[in-house]
Amino acid sequence: MNQAAVVAGEAGWELPSRNRVGMVCFIVAESAMFVIFVVAYLFYLGKSPYGPTPEQALSLPVANTICLLSSSGTIAWAVRALRRGRLATFAVAWGATAALGALFLAGTGREWARLVHHERLTPATNLFGTTYYSLVGLHAFHVTVGLVLLTTVLMLTLFGKLHRRYTEHVEVLALYWHFVDCVWIVVFSVVYVIGR
C-alpha cells in the first residue's frame, strides 16, 4: 500500500448525490406498494359474483395513455433544456408536461363519471369495482401529487425564481414523473389489456 494511492483516492472522493439516492429509495418503496394493489387486481380478476365485468364496463383509454406517455418525453426535453441553461425552452416543455398530466387526470375523471353514472360501478359494487378504483385511483393520486409539484416548479419558473443550480432538484422530480409513467404502463397492461 503506498501513500500516493491513498492521497489520490481522497482527492477523487465522490459520492452519489443524496437527492437521487433518496428518490430511488422512495421509488422502490412506492413500487412495493403498487405491486400489492396489482396483485390484488389480478387475484380477483373474474372472481366477482355479479357484474358489471371489466369487459362490459371498460374501454381502452388511448388518448389518456398517449397524453401521459408523451409527457415523459416533454419532461426529459425540459430537463435537457435546463441543463443547458435555456430557461424559456424549459418553461415551455415543463408547461407542456403539466398540461398533459392535467389532460390525463381529466380523462380519468371522465372515465370514472361514466362508470359511476352509466355502468353503476362504485368501489362497493363488486370486487372488480373495489380493485379497479383502488389501483387506478392510487395511480391517479400519484399523478395528482406530481401535478402539484410540476405546477409549483412552473410557477417558480414563471416568476423567475428558477435557477440553473436547481437542475438536480428538477431532475429528481422528473425521475418521479417517469416512475408514475412506468406505473401507468403496468396499470394499463393489467387493467385494460390482460384484464379485459
Partner: protein
C-alpha cells in the same frame, strides 16, 4: 429577597421552555436518536405492563383477574406496541444516533425528513392508545383494538369489529409505516452519500452495512402492509370487498399481504441486533471481527431469502403442497447464513482476550439464545411439525426467544456500550450485572419453560384454561419468570437515571474501541467532528492508536 426568588423561578421556567422548544424543533440526528429511544422505552414499559397482566391472568387455571375481552385487547396491544412502538423506534433511534457518527458525517442526509419520520411514529403510537378514549364512537363498543396483532380477516370487518378501535389500529400502523419508510430512505442515503473520505463500502463499519440491508427490507417490506391497511380502510369505510368473503373476497389474501410484510419485519427487527453484536463482540474480545466480508454477505443473503418465506406463517391455512414445500425449503435456507454469522461471532471471540463487562455478557447470552431460537425456527419450518404446533405457546416461546432473547439482549448490550458516548457517563457495572442476571434467569424461566405447555397442546391467546392438563405448574413458573424480567428492567431504568448524573465520567473512548464515534468527545458536539476524518481501514481508531502497526497494511 422574594423578588429575587421570583425572578430566578421565572428564569428557570423560561430556560425549561426554551430547552423543550429546542428539542421539539430539532433536526439534529443525535437528539432525534435520543428521542426515538426514550419514546421506545416509554412504550416498553407500557407493553411490558400488558405482558405482566397477561401472565397474571394465566398464572392459574380458571383465573378471573381479567375479562376475556380485556385479555384480547391486552395481547393485541402488547404485540402491536412491542413491534411497532418499541422495536422499530429502538432500532431507528440507535441508527439515527450511530450511523452518521460511524461514517464521519455531520448529520443524516435529510435532517428534516428525519424529524418528520420521528414525529409520525410518535403520533402513531399516541393514536393507538387514544383508541382507549376515542374508540367508543357512536356504537359504544370496544375501547381498544382486540383483533390480534396480525388482525386476520374477516374479524376486522365492520360486522365483527364494531366501533372505531380497529380503525385507530389501522391508522396508527399506517402512520408508523410512513415514519419507518422515511427513516429507511434516510439511512440508505446517509450511508451511500455521506461517508467521510476513504470510507469505501469495504471499510464501512458492520453496523452501517447491516442497517443498509435492514433499510432495504423496510423499503420493500413495510409498503405492502401500508397497502393492505389502505385496503382494509376501504373495506371498512367505502364498502369495498377486498377481504369480504361474502362478496367473493379472500380472507387468506389478507394473511398473505400481512405476512409479506410480517416476515421481513422479523428480520427488520433482528438485523440491528446482529449489528450491535458485531460491533460489541470484537471490542470486548480485543480482536478484529472474524470474516467481515462473509458476515456482510450472510446478512445480504438473509435479506434476500427473508422476502420469500412469509407463508411459513400460514402452513395451517391449507395451501397447496407445492406452496408448502417451497416456503418450507426457503425457510430452511435461512439457517445457512444464520449459522455462518454465529461462527463469525464465535470465531471473533476464539483466542481473544475477552472482557466480561455488561455489554459483552448480554452479547454472549444473545449468541446462545439466538442459536436456540434458530433451532426452534427450523423445527417450526418443517410443515408436519408446524401443523402439530401451530398457534401453540411453543410458537410464542420461539419468537420471544428471537425478539427478547436475541433482539432485546443485544439492545441492552447496546445501551451499556453506547450510553457513555451519548451522556458522557458510564452506566453502573454492578447494577448492570444485577440487571443481566435477573433478566437472564427471568427470561429462561419464562420462555424456555413456555416451550413445554406448547408441546403439551396449550394454545396461545386463550384467556384461561382447565386444570388437570399438566399446564398449571408450568404457567406458574412462566409468570414468576416474567416478574424476574420486570425486576431486571427496573434495575436497568434505575441505572439509566442514576448514572445520568452520578455515573463515572467516560471520556471520549472508555472501551478502547475502534470505530469513528469514539474519536469525538462524549457527548459529541453538535457538529460531531471538528475536522472531517479520513479513514484507511475498518478500524480507524486502531490505526490512530497504533501507528507502528496499522490495519490498512493487512486489509
Amino acid at each position: 429577597m422574594t423578588g429575587e426568588a421570583a425572578v430566578t423561578t421565572r428564569e428557570v421556567e423560561a430556560r425549561f421552555w426554551q430547552r423543550l422548544h429546542e428539542w421539539i424543533v430539532t433536526v439534529d440526528h443525535k437528539r432525534l436518536g435520543v428521542m426515538y429511544v426514550l419514546y421506545a422505552l416509554l412504550f416498553l414499559l407500557i407493553g411490558g405492563s400488558e405482558a405482566l397482566l397477561i401472565r397474571l391472568q394465566l398464572v392459574a387455571p380458571h383465573n378471573t383477574l381479567l375479562a376475556p375481552q380485556t385479555f384480547n385487547r391486552l395481547f393485541t396491544l402488547h404485540g402491536t406496541t412491542m413491534v411497532f412502538f418499541v422495536g422499530m423506534p429502538l432500532i431507528f433511534g440507535f441508527a439515527n444516533y450511530l450511523v452518521p457518527l460511524m461514517i464521519g458525517a455531520r448529520d443524516m442526509a435529510f435532517p428534516r425528513l428525519n424529524a418528520f419520520s420521528f414525529w409520525m411514529s410518535a403520533f402513531a403510537g399516541l393514536l393507538l392508545y387514544f383508541s382507549f378514549l376515542g374508540a367508543e364512537g357512536l356504537y359504544g363498543a370496544g375501547s381498544a383494538p382486540d383483533v390480534g396483532w396480525f388482525a386476520y380477516a374477516p374479524l376486522t370487518s365492520r360486522a365483527f369489529s364494531r366501533g372505531h378501535s380497529t380503525d385507530y389500529w389501522i391508522l396508527s400502523i399506517f402512520l408508523s409505516g410512513v415514519g419507518s419508510i422515511g427513516t429507511a430512505v434516510n439511512i440508505i442515503t446517509t450511508v451511500l452519500s455521506r461517508r467521510c473520505p476513504g470510507m469505501t463500502l469495504g471499510k464501512l463499519p458492520l453496523l452501517c452495512w447491516f442497517y443498509v440491508v435492514d433499510s432495504v427490507l423496510v423499503l420493500v417490506g413495510v409498503p405492502p402492509l401500508a397497502a393492505a391497511q389502505l385496503m382494509l380502510l376501504a373495506d371498512r369505510f367505502l364498502g369495498a370487498h377486498f377481504f369480504d368473503t361474502q362478496a367473493g373476497g379472500s380472507a387468506v389474501l389478507w394473511q398473505h399481504f400481512f405476512w409479506i410484510f410480517g416476515h421481513p419485519e422479523v428480520y427488520i427487527l433482528m438485523i440491528p441486533g446482529w449489528a450491535f453484536a458485531s460491533e460489541i463482540i470484537p471490542v470486548f474480545s480485543r480482536k478484529a471481527i472474524f470474516g467481515y466480508p462473509v458476515l456482510v454477505g450472510a446478512v445480504i443473503a438473509i435479506g434476500f431469502v427473508s422476502l420469500s418465506v412469509w407463508a411459513h406463517h400460514m402452513f395451517a391455512v391449507g395451501m397447496s403442497m407445492t406452496a408448502n414445500t417451497f416456503f418450507m425449503v426457503a425457510t430452511l435456507l435461512v439457517g445457512i447464513p444464520t449459522g455462518i454469522k454465529i461462527f463469525n461471532w464465535i470465531g471473533t471471540m476464539w483466542g481473544g482476550k475477552i472482557r466480561l463487562a455488561t455489554p459483552m455478557l448480554f452479547c454472549i447470552a444473545f449468541i446462545g439464545q439466538f442459536l436456540i431460537a434458530g433451532l426452534t425456527g427450523i423445527m417450526l419450518a418443517a410443515v408436519p411439525f408446524n401443523w402439530q404446533l401451530t398457534d401453540s405457546t411453543f410458537v410464542v416461546a420461539h419468537f420471544h426467544f428471537m425478539l427478547v432473547g436475541s433482539l432485546l439482549f443485544t439492545v441492552f448490550a447496546a445501551f451499556y456500550y453506547w450510553f457513555p458516548k451519548v451522556t458522557g457517563r458510564m452506566l453502573d457495572e454492578k447494577l448492570g450485572k444485577l440487571h443481566f442476571w435477573l433478566f437472564l434467569v427471568g427470561f429462561h424461566l419464562t420462555f424456555t419453560v413456555m416451550h413445554i405447555p406448547g408441546l403439551l397442546g396449550m394454545p396461545r391467546r386463550i384467556y384461561t384454561y382447565e386444570p388437570g392438563r399438566g399446564w398449571e405448574t408450568l404457567n406458574l413458573v412462566i409468570t414468576i419468570g416474567a416478574f424476574f424480567q420486570a425486576a431486571g428492567v427496573a434495575c436497568f431504568l434505575v441505572n439509566l437515571v442514576r448514572s445520568l448524573h452520578k455515573g463515572k465520567l467516560a471520556g471520549p473512548d472508555p472501551w478502547d474501541a475502534w470505530t469513528l464515534e469514539w474519536s469525538t468527545s462524549s457527548p459529541p458536539p453538535e457538529y460531531n467532528f471538528a475536522v472531517v476524518p479520513t479513514v484507511r481501514s475498518r478500524r480507524p481508531l486502531w490505526d490512530l492508536k497504533h501507528p507502528e502497526d496499522p490495519d490498512w497494511v493487512y486489509e
